[in-house]
């Protein structure tokens, strides 16, 4: 470009372009301002920590989903996988008396098998990712339920033979679910995946596959291998989410991970546009989760009744999506 060209670099201000890039962040700031002025305690440091703690599980699960979205996939089974991980890890302690580390290791190993099954079905049968993982979502939800015989697993629960369960949940394990560790785990996960997707060759390959699978294949990228890795990563983070969930509530409720799916999907999709990335990305997903977390927290502070919460939550999400995706033709 010549000098005259670079002078004209200063482009006219595009309003919708600006919204696309910063819409989510602006919404977050607006919500903070609104809730901050309308309530006294919203901006307290304890409430801020509270918000971060409440979004940590959603964020961890959503980050796994983000990786599956990056290769152009869509792992709908993350909620079920989290439920399964929750049931497995608690049962390892309560039923089998394992140590903290071994319980976590066994749980993650089983959940990676889940990822392997998803990847195998999606890659080999060439069925749309969303449809296939919708099916496996039910399967793994059922597996988790069957494993717990449809009951909650907790310390001193009554076993089918009439005895009390004798295993104890290790103290060290419980720490994972408490501040500050739960927040630290979330931030490490976000940072690690951000670095992986943006600064390693593997992350670059994943975005290429997501952007244009045919061109990626013809560029010599091992497409199937990377799709497999993406589903393994997705299952891994769903497992971590389920384990942290278990550590937080110290038991395994029926289908405890299920409700996290839709919040995770929302967080990941809101994250597409953050800072103009235009594709699934870890930081954006985190911002999406923060938006959802602030919203829920603020509405509770404003004493909005729980049964009306979803109306407001859904509306604000729709608004956030509308201003970010309303683009010039």
């Amino acid at each position: 470009m010549n000098a005259a060209g670079s002078m004209r670099e200063k482009k006219p201000f595009h309003f919708f372009e600006f919204l696309y890039k910063y819409g989510t962040l602006i919404t977050i700031l607006l919500l903070i301002a609104v809730f901050g002025t309308m309530t006294d305690s919203f901006l307290n440091s304890s409430n801020i920590i509270n918000i971060l703690r409440s979004i940590s599980i959603v964020t961890i699960i959503a980050i796994g989903l983000t990786v599956s979205l990056a290769v152009g996939g869509f792992d709908l089974s993350v909620g079920s996988t989290a439920s399964l991980a929750n049931a497995l890890v608690i049962s390892m302690y309560v039923w089998h008396g394992q140590s903290a580390g071994l319980g976590i290791a066994i749980t993650i190993a089983f959940c990676l098998v889940v990822g392997l099954i998803n990847a195998f079905l999606v890659i080999n049968f060439k069925i749309q990712d969303m449809l296939m993982t919708l099916a496996t979502m039910f399967v793994f939800q059922g597996v988790a339920l069957t494993y717990t015989r449809g009951a909650t697993i907790s310390q001193n629960m009554i076993m089918p033979n009439g005895d009390f369960a004798t295993g104890q949940i290790p103290k060290a394990f419980g720490k994972i679910g408490q501040v500050p560790w739960i927040i630290v785990i979330m931030l490490v996960v976000v940072a690690a995946v951000h670095l992986f997707l943006n600064y390693t060759k593997h992350g670059r390959y994943m975005y290429m596959i997501g952007g244009n699978p045919e061109a990626a294949k013809l560029s010599g990228i091992a497409v199937s291998k990377y799709r497999l890795i993406a589903y393994l990563v997705s299952a891994l983070f769903a497992a971590i989410g389920g384990i942290v969930l278990g550590a937080r509530i110290m038991n395994a409720e029926v289908n405890a991970g299920g409700p996290y799916l839709m919040d995770a999907v929302a967080a990941a999709f809101i994250g597409y546009s953050v800072l103009g990335a235009g594709k699934p990305n870890a930081f954006g997903t985190f911002a999406g989760a923060v938006l959802i977390g602030i919203l829920s927290n603020g509405l509770i502070m404003l004493s909005v009744p729980y049964y009306a919460m979803d109306i407001v939550k859904g509306s604000v999400l729709a608004l956030a999506l509308a201003i970010t995706y309303y683009k010039r033709k």
Binding site: Y199, G211, A215, L218, G220, A222
Partner: protein, 504 residues
């Protein structure tokens, strides 16, 4: 299908321009009911544009269209259909609704246009009318079968049946035989003769000379948006048709090359791919540019993809420097030292939403990764900036998104990606398709330079002038087979085109 025998269609002084191009200049065309008229020309000669004008796809042409000597106003597809002009385009799948039945598809336009004020579909009547049309056409397909279960040939029959269901005085068939087998082609010809005897005027676009001479009565040859010849087809022979299609040659658009051709480096034997490529053998010497000529649909793209491991069903043996290659996927092909610049640039060659630098390093990313995977953005940027300068890619900077570049520059990016890889064999599939003249010259230079560096080049193109202009040796494909090998010095465009069109 009731037509008076004297029905005539005339197009007079048709001109049309698109931004930057004059597509047609004063073209006259005329044909009559009950005649089969061949329309032929090289790529970009304007035959499809002319037929689109007739079909009412463009409203902004100048000139006149006359039916039976009376001025016919055709500016929209609807008006064209009212005058009884029906077109069956090459891409049959775009015109059919795959999850509806044959009967519904045949009667589609009747259902859309002739049901004003009625709301209930009479299924029995619909299938009876569709069945009656198919029977008259002598086509044996159940009207209740779904379109998605049909073969390509049957789909074509359904489209022709739909045209006949409406008022049909002139039927345009745009390269109908390209995807058909020999028996399917014969079936189509029977149908064409039947329609002809019913008094329908048929305009038949094809590149296959033997077919045209078999089925057509008259011929119009076009070149560069102009009419060249219109005559009865029996007054011409293959050689003359080819000469008229090519016309005078342009000189100076190809680079002069010093040829240093070494020993045989790449060899492929017995390449097969599910009916589209049949038993192809080829070899390329070091520093040699080997052309792959043939018309659209001759199997060039399929062969290129088979050599690159991008086709699932392909079989055959490949050798590089005497070593047998095991290639089941493009990933293995790239590792073995083979590179492919694919034909469909936007779909297969580039990542439109990514930056130029990301595109350029896509195939060689390992070179820019430290400790096995950590990307060095500085090294990547340096390589990208150098490549942009070397290839003369016009982009504001290496971070610009590829979708904002022009077609020629996108193609340079798609090629540049492979220059960073340093492969032994480069396969180019229609690299100058949709590229402006200046960029074309740059691409020829690039190909020549690769050859000078001792690479093996396979250059597939349906632009015949490129074969004589840039290659050392030419393989000609026809119907999935390698039918001729020619020395580029000792041949000419007429000969190549003659073999490509199945002449001789």
């Amino acid at each position: 299908m009731t037509v008076s025998a004297a029905s005539r269609l005339e197009m007079k002084q048709i001109s049309i321009a698109f931004p930057g191009v004059k597509a047609l200049t004063d073209v006259d065309f005329h044909t009559a009911a009950g005649r089969v008229h061949a329309l032929i020309g090289a790529n970009g000669a304007g035959k499809s544009t002319l037929m689109k004008v007739l079909a009412g796809a463009y409203g902004h042409y100048t000139g006149h269209i006359l039916m039976d000597g009376k001025e016919a106003r055709i500016r929209s597809p609807k008006e064209a259909k009212q005058h009884g002009i029906q077109v069956v385009y090459q891409e049959v799948d775009t015109a059919l609704i795959a999850n509806l039945t044959v009967g519904e598809n045949i009667m589609l336009e009747k259902t859309v246009h002739d049901m004003t004020g009625r709301h209930w579909v009479r299924w029995k009547g619909l299938h009876q009318s569709a069945q009656a049309i198919l029977e008259r056409m002598n086509v044996k397909v159940s009207t209740r079968k779904l379109i998605q279960d049909l073969t390509l040939a049957e789909k074509q029959m359904v489209l022709i049946a739909r045209s006949v269901a409406m008022k049909c005085r002139f039927l345009v068939l745009d390269e109908p035989t390209a995807p058909l087998s020999k028996t399917e082609t014969e079936q189509l010809f029977r149908l064409v003769r039947l329609l002809k005897s019913d008094g329908v005027g048929i305009i038949f676009i094809s590149h296959r000379l033997p077919e045209l001479f078999e089925i057509c009565d008259d011929i119009t040859i076009m070149r560069d948006g102009r009419l060249v010849v219109r005559d009865e087809i029996r007054k011409l022979d293959h050689q003359q048709v080819v000469e008229h299609m090519l016309g005078a040659k342009l000189d100076g658009q190809f680079p002069c090359r010093k040829r240093e051709i070494g020993e045989i480096c790449f060899e492929a034997r017995g390449i097969h791919d599910s009916g589209k490529v049949n038993d192809v053998d080829l070899h390329i010497r070091r520093g040699e540019i080997v052309g792959l000529a043939g018309l659209v649909g001759a199997g060039k793209t399929e062969l290129c993809r088979a050599l690159f491991g991008a086709s699932r069903a392909s079989t055959g043996d490949m050798y590089l420097n005497g070593r047998k290659l095991r290639i089941k996927s493009p990933h293995q092909a790239v590792r073995s030292g083979i590179a492919l610049v694919p034909e469909e640039r936007r779909r297969e060659g580039i990542f439109v939403d990514e930056a130029v630098s990301v595109n350029l390093t896509a195939a060689s990313l390992s070179r820019f990764a430290k400790w096995g995977s950590w990307l060095s953005s500085a090294a990547e940027k340096k390589a990208a900036v150098e490549m942009i300068a070397n290839l003369g890619i016009k982009t504001p900077n290496e971070q610009a998104k590829v979708k904002n570049l022009s077609g020629g520059n996108q193609q340079k990016v798609a090629i540049g990606k492979w220059l960073l890889v340093d492969a032994d064999v480069y396969i180019f599939d229609e690299p100058t398709k949709g590229v402006d003249v200046g960029a074309k010259r740059d691409i020829y230079d690039l190909v020549a330079e690769l050859a000078a560096r001792g690479k093996c080049i396979l250059y597939a193109s349906s632009e015949i002038s490129e074969m004589t202009g840039i290659t050392d040796r030419v393989y000609v494909m026809y119907d999935g087979r390698m039918i001729k090998e020619l020395e580029s010095d000792k041949t000419n465009e007429e000969e190549i085109l003659l073999y490509s069109t199945g002449g001789l």
